[in-house]
Amino acid sequence: MAHLAADPRVEQYARLLVERCLDVQPNWQVLVRSTPLARPLVEAVQGAIAERGAYAVVRLNWSLWPTDLVWAAEAPLDLVGELPAIDRAACELMDARITIEAPENTRQGSDLDPERRALVRRRERVFFRRTMAMEIPWVSCQFPTQALAQEAGLTLPQLEEILYAACLRDWDAERERLLRYLQLFDAAEEVRIVGPGTDLRLSLSGRRGEVDDGRTNMPGGEIFYAPVEDSAEGTIVFGECPAVYDGHELQGVRLRFRAGQVVEASAATGEQALLAALERDPGARRLGELGIGLNPGVARPMRNVLFDEKMEGSIHLALGQSYSFLGGTNVSAIHWDLVKDLRQGGRLVLDGRIVQAEGRWLL
């Protein structure tokens, strides 16, 4: 954990998170959850929070608070399924939260058995509830680590370049750009996604979208919707980027929808994890999100959903929980984003009109 020279980008990154994403106000309790490798950013964030006259409530552990994976592997199941009162209180009392992922190994936790994993997800619902409902400001981001670089097939300096290019942007200008696409989709009823092996229609009728102009996610750079729950019809193949679920990598996920529900599912690898995810609960078979990636700083998939879903020329669909503030009504313990790159042979069609082909906008 030696940091030989301070990277000025870390300080800018911290200010972006504290001042723009959260706009921290005096006396707030800002919950910062992370792991030790994020130390330079955590400390810069603590300083920026202090300067705003607020509390930094740092929750640092080997795995992301509120679940310790070593504990969760051996504790009695009833305890694994329910947060202790102390952590529930923190969930209710926090005024904002920052999640900084900085994994030492992106596969940590993949050996937790499925029953315990489901219980962990249940206990953490208390934590995610207020942020999914947008009751408090929140942001999820990453600090560059060797594990994330390795996952992306990059060196650490290469990953740092991409991460900071995607995050340290003029977000007011990005917002203007995102709003233009939002108007286009807000006015549309039917979205059709076409590509090799793919022809899926879904409805946004009566739904409005939201821009992520660098607030809840860093990097931001997407517009997203809760599609009408019973509208998805057709087939989609996620052939370009692998999907990751609970530490398992899935290649070539193919989903067929009828009346909004997945009625057929397969994958070239990791099919069992796919089927298990769909069996989680009734809501896991429905779409909770349609997102359109619009961040020009993310040019290639990195096996990293936070970045991949922002890639310009990609769309993503999430199975499971939808955003109630966007009119979504689907309820599920999962919210699993699957990213599809449309830059090779894909197109987006709005109410019969092609608006994007091969990842390029035709507006």
């Binding site: 603590q46 409530v57 070593v70 504790a75 202790p84 952590d87």
Partner: protein
């Protein structure tokens, strides 16, 4: 930490692990407004108030981390925490402070990590039942006594334990344990003590040659060879900082030398320690302070302890 977490899980209890880069979080503490330093955030207050027990594992990368934070800021933070940690320190709820061997701790002790490892486990993995019995005999003797006098070169200090009883730390709040400790009568200390053998370590500082003169229980004169400003600032932290909160007698035979590490040093057999500041209410202590600064004095070369006029320890060897 992982092993402790695992064992807590097997006991069917919640583990709530909290890591921190240092004890005082300088990145926030240096720059936060002082009114925030003086009040714990509700989340942390709730957490301390509702924790059933507390396990603190120190594993510093650098024992001086946090020493750049001004003392008055640390005092504000400590005062804010005090009411919430008091139930642990007063014995209402179990707590334990211990260390995991790191290079920084070894370096302060002037040792390699391998040698420090040996020393730490030698002091920690001992037969606590038999050590507890030995310490109980010492405590019984001091419980029955009134006046303690500590005599050594540059040192002649008297204070009273009248009406006070002591505590044996065997498997209690510290690991390693190995001390018998008291809260002396608050207005009783009279005389001079010089901590010539070892530096007095607190808040990342190691203050050399501390000399304190007491009158009516309060420090009326204080000097040191190094960090004298820090010594004076700490004494001025609040009303109680000039009064003795603790008298302790080191009894752990596994610790023979000073490690610039209070958790260990105060347990060295043949030493005593005095703490300025907060006393132990469960031992009858009434002194209140945000400070609790343990200073260790080695009596093995020419020092002695007298109890009601009788020499009970001479040159670090018990005569009882």
């Amino acid at each position: 930490m992982e092993e402790a977490t695992r064992r807590i899980a097997r006991r069917g209890a919640y583990a709530l692990p909290r890591l921190s880069f240092s004890r005082v979080d300088p990145a926030w503490t240096r720059r936060a407004p002082s009114e925030l330093l003086a009040r714990l955030p509700a989340i942390e207050a709730y957490e301390l108030d509702h924790a059933d027990c507390l396990l603190v594992i120190e594993a510093p990368e650098n024992t001086r981390a946090g020493s750049e934070v001004p003392g008055e800021r640390l005092t504000l933070r400590r005062s804010a925490q005090r009411p919430h940690v008091e139930p642990f320190f007063s014995g209402e709820k179990p707590w334990l402070g211990c260390q995991f061997p790191t290079h920084a701790l070894a370096q302060d002790a002037g040792m390699s990590l391998a040698a420090f490892n040996e020393l730490l486990y030698g002091a920690v993995l001992v037969d606590w039942d038999s050590l507890a019995k030995r310490m109980r005999r010492i405590a019984d003797r001091f419980d029955a006594g009134d006046e303690v006098r500590i005599v050594a070169e540059g040192t002649d200090l008297r204070f009273s334990l009248a009406g006070r009883h002591g505590q044996v730390d065997a498997l209690g709040a510290n690991m390693p344990g190995g001390e018998v400790f008291y809260s002396p009568v608050e207005d009783s200390a009279e005389g001079v003590i010089t901590f010539a053998e070892y530096p007095a370590c607190y808040d990342g500082r190691a203050v050399e040659g501390v000399r304190l003169r007491f009158q009516g229980g309060r420090v009326v004169e204080a000097s040191s060879r190094t960090d004298e400003d820090f010594l004076h600032a700490t004494l001025d932290a609040d009303e109680g900082a000039r009064v003795l909160g603790e008298f302790g007698i080191g009894c752990n035979p596994g610790i023979q030398r000073h490690l610039k590490n209070t958790l260990f040093d105060e347990k060295i057999e043949g030493t005593v320690h005095l703490a300025l500041g907060n006393g132990f209410p469960f031992l009858g202590g009434t002194n209140v302070s945000a400070v609790h600064w343990d200073m260790v004095k080695d009596l093995r070369r020419g020092g002695r302890i007298e109890l009601d006029g009788q020499v009970v320890q001479d040159g670090g060897t018990w005569l009882i």
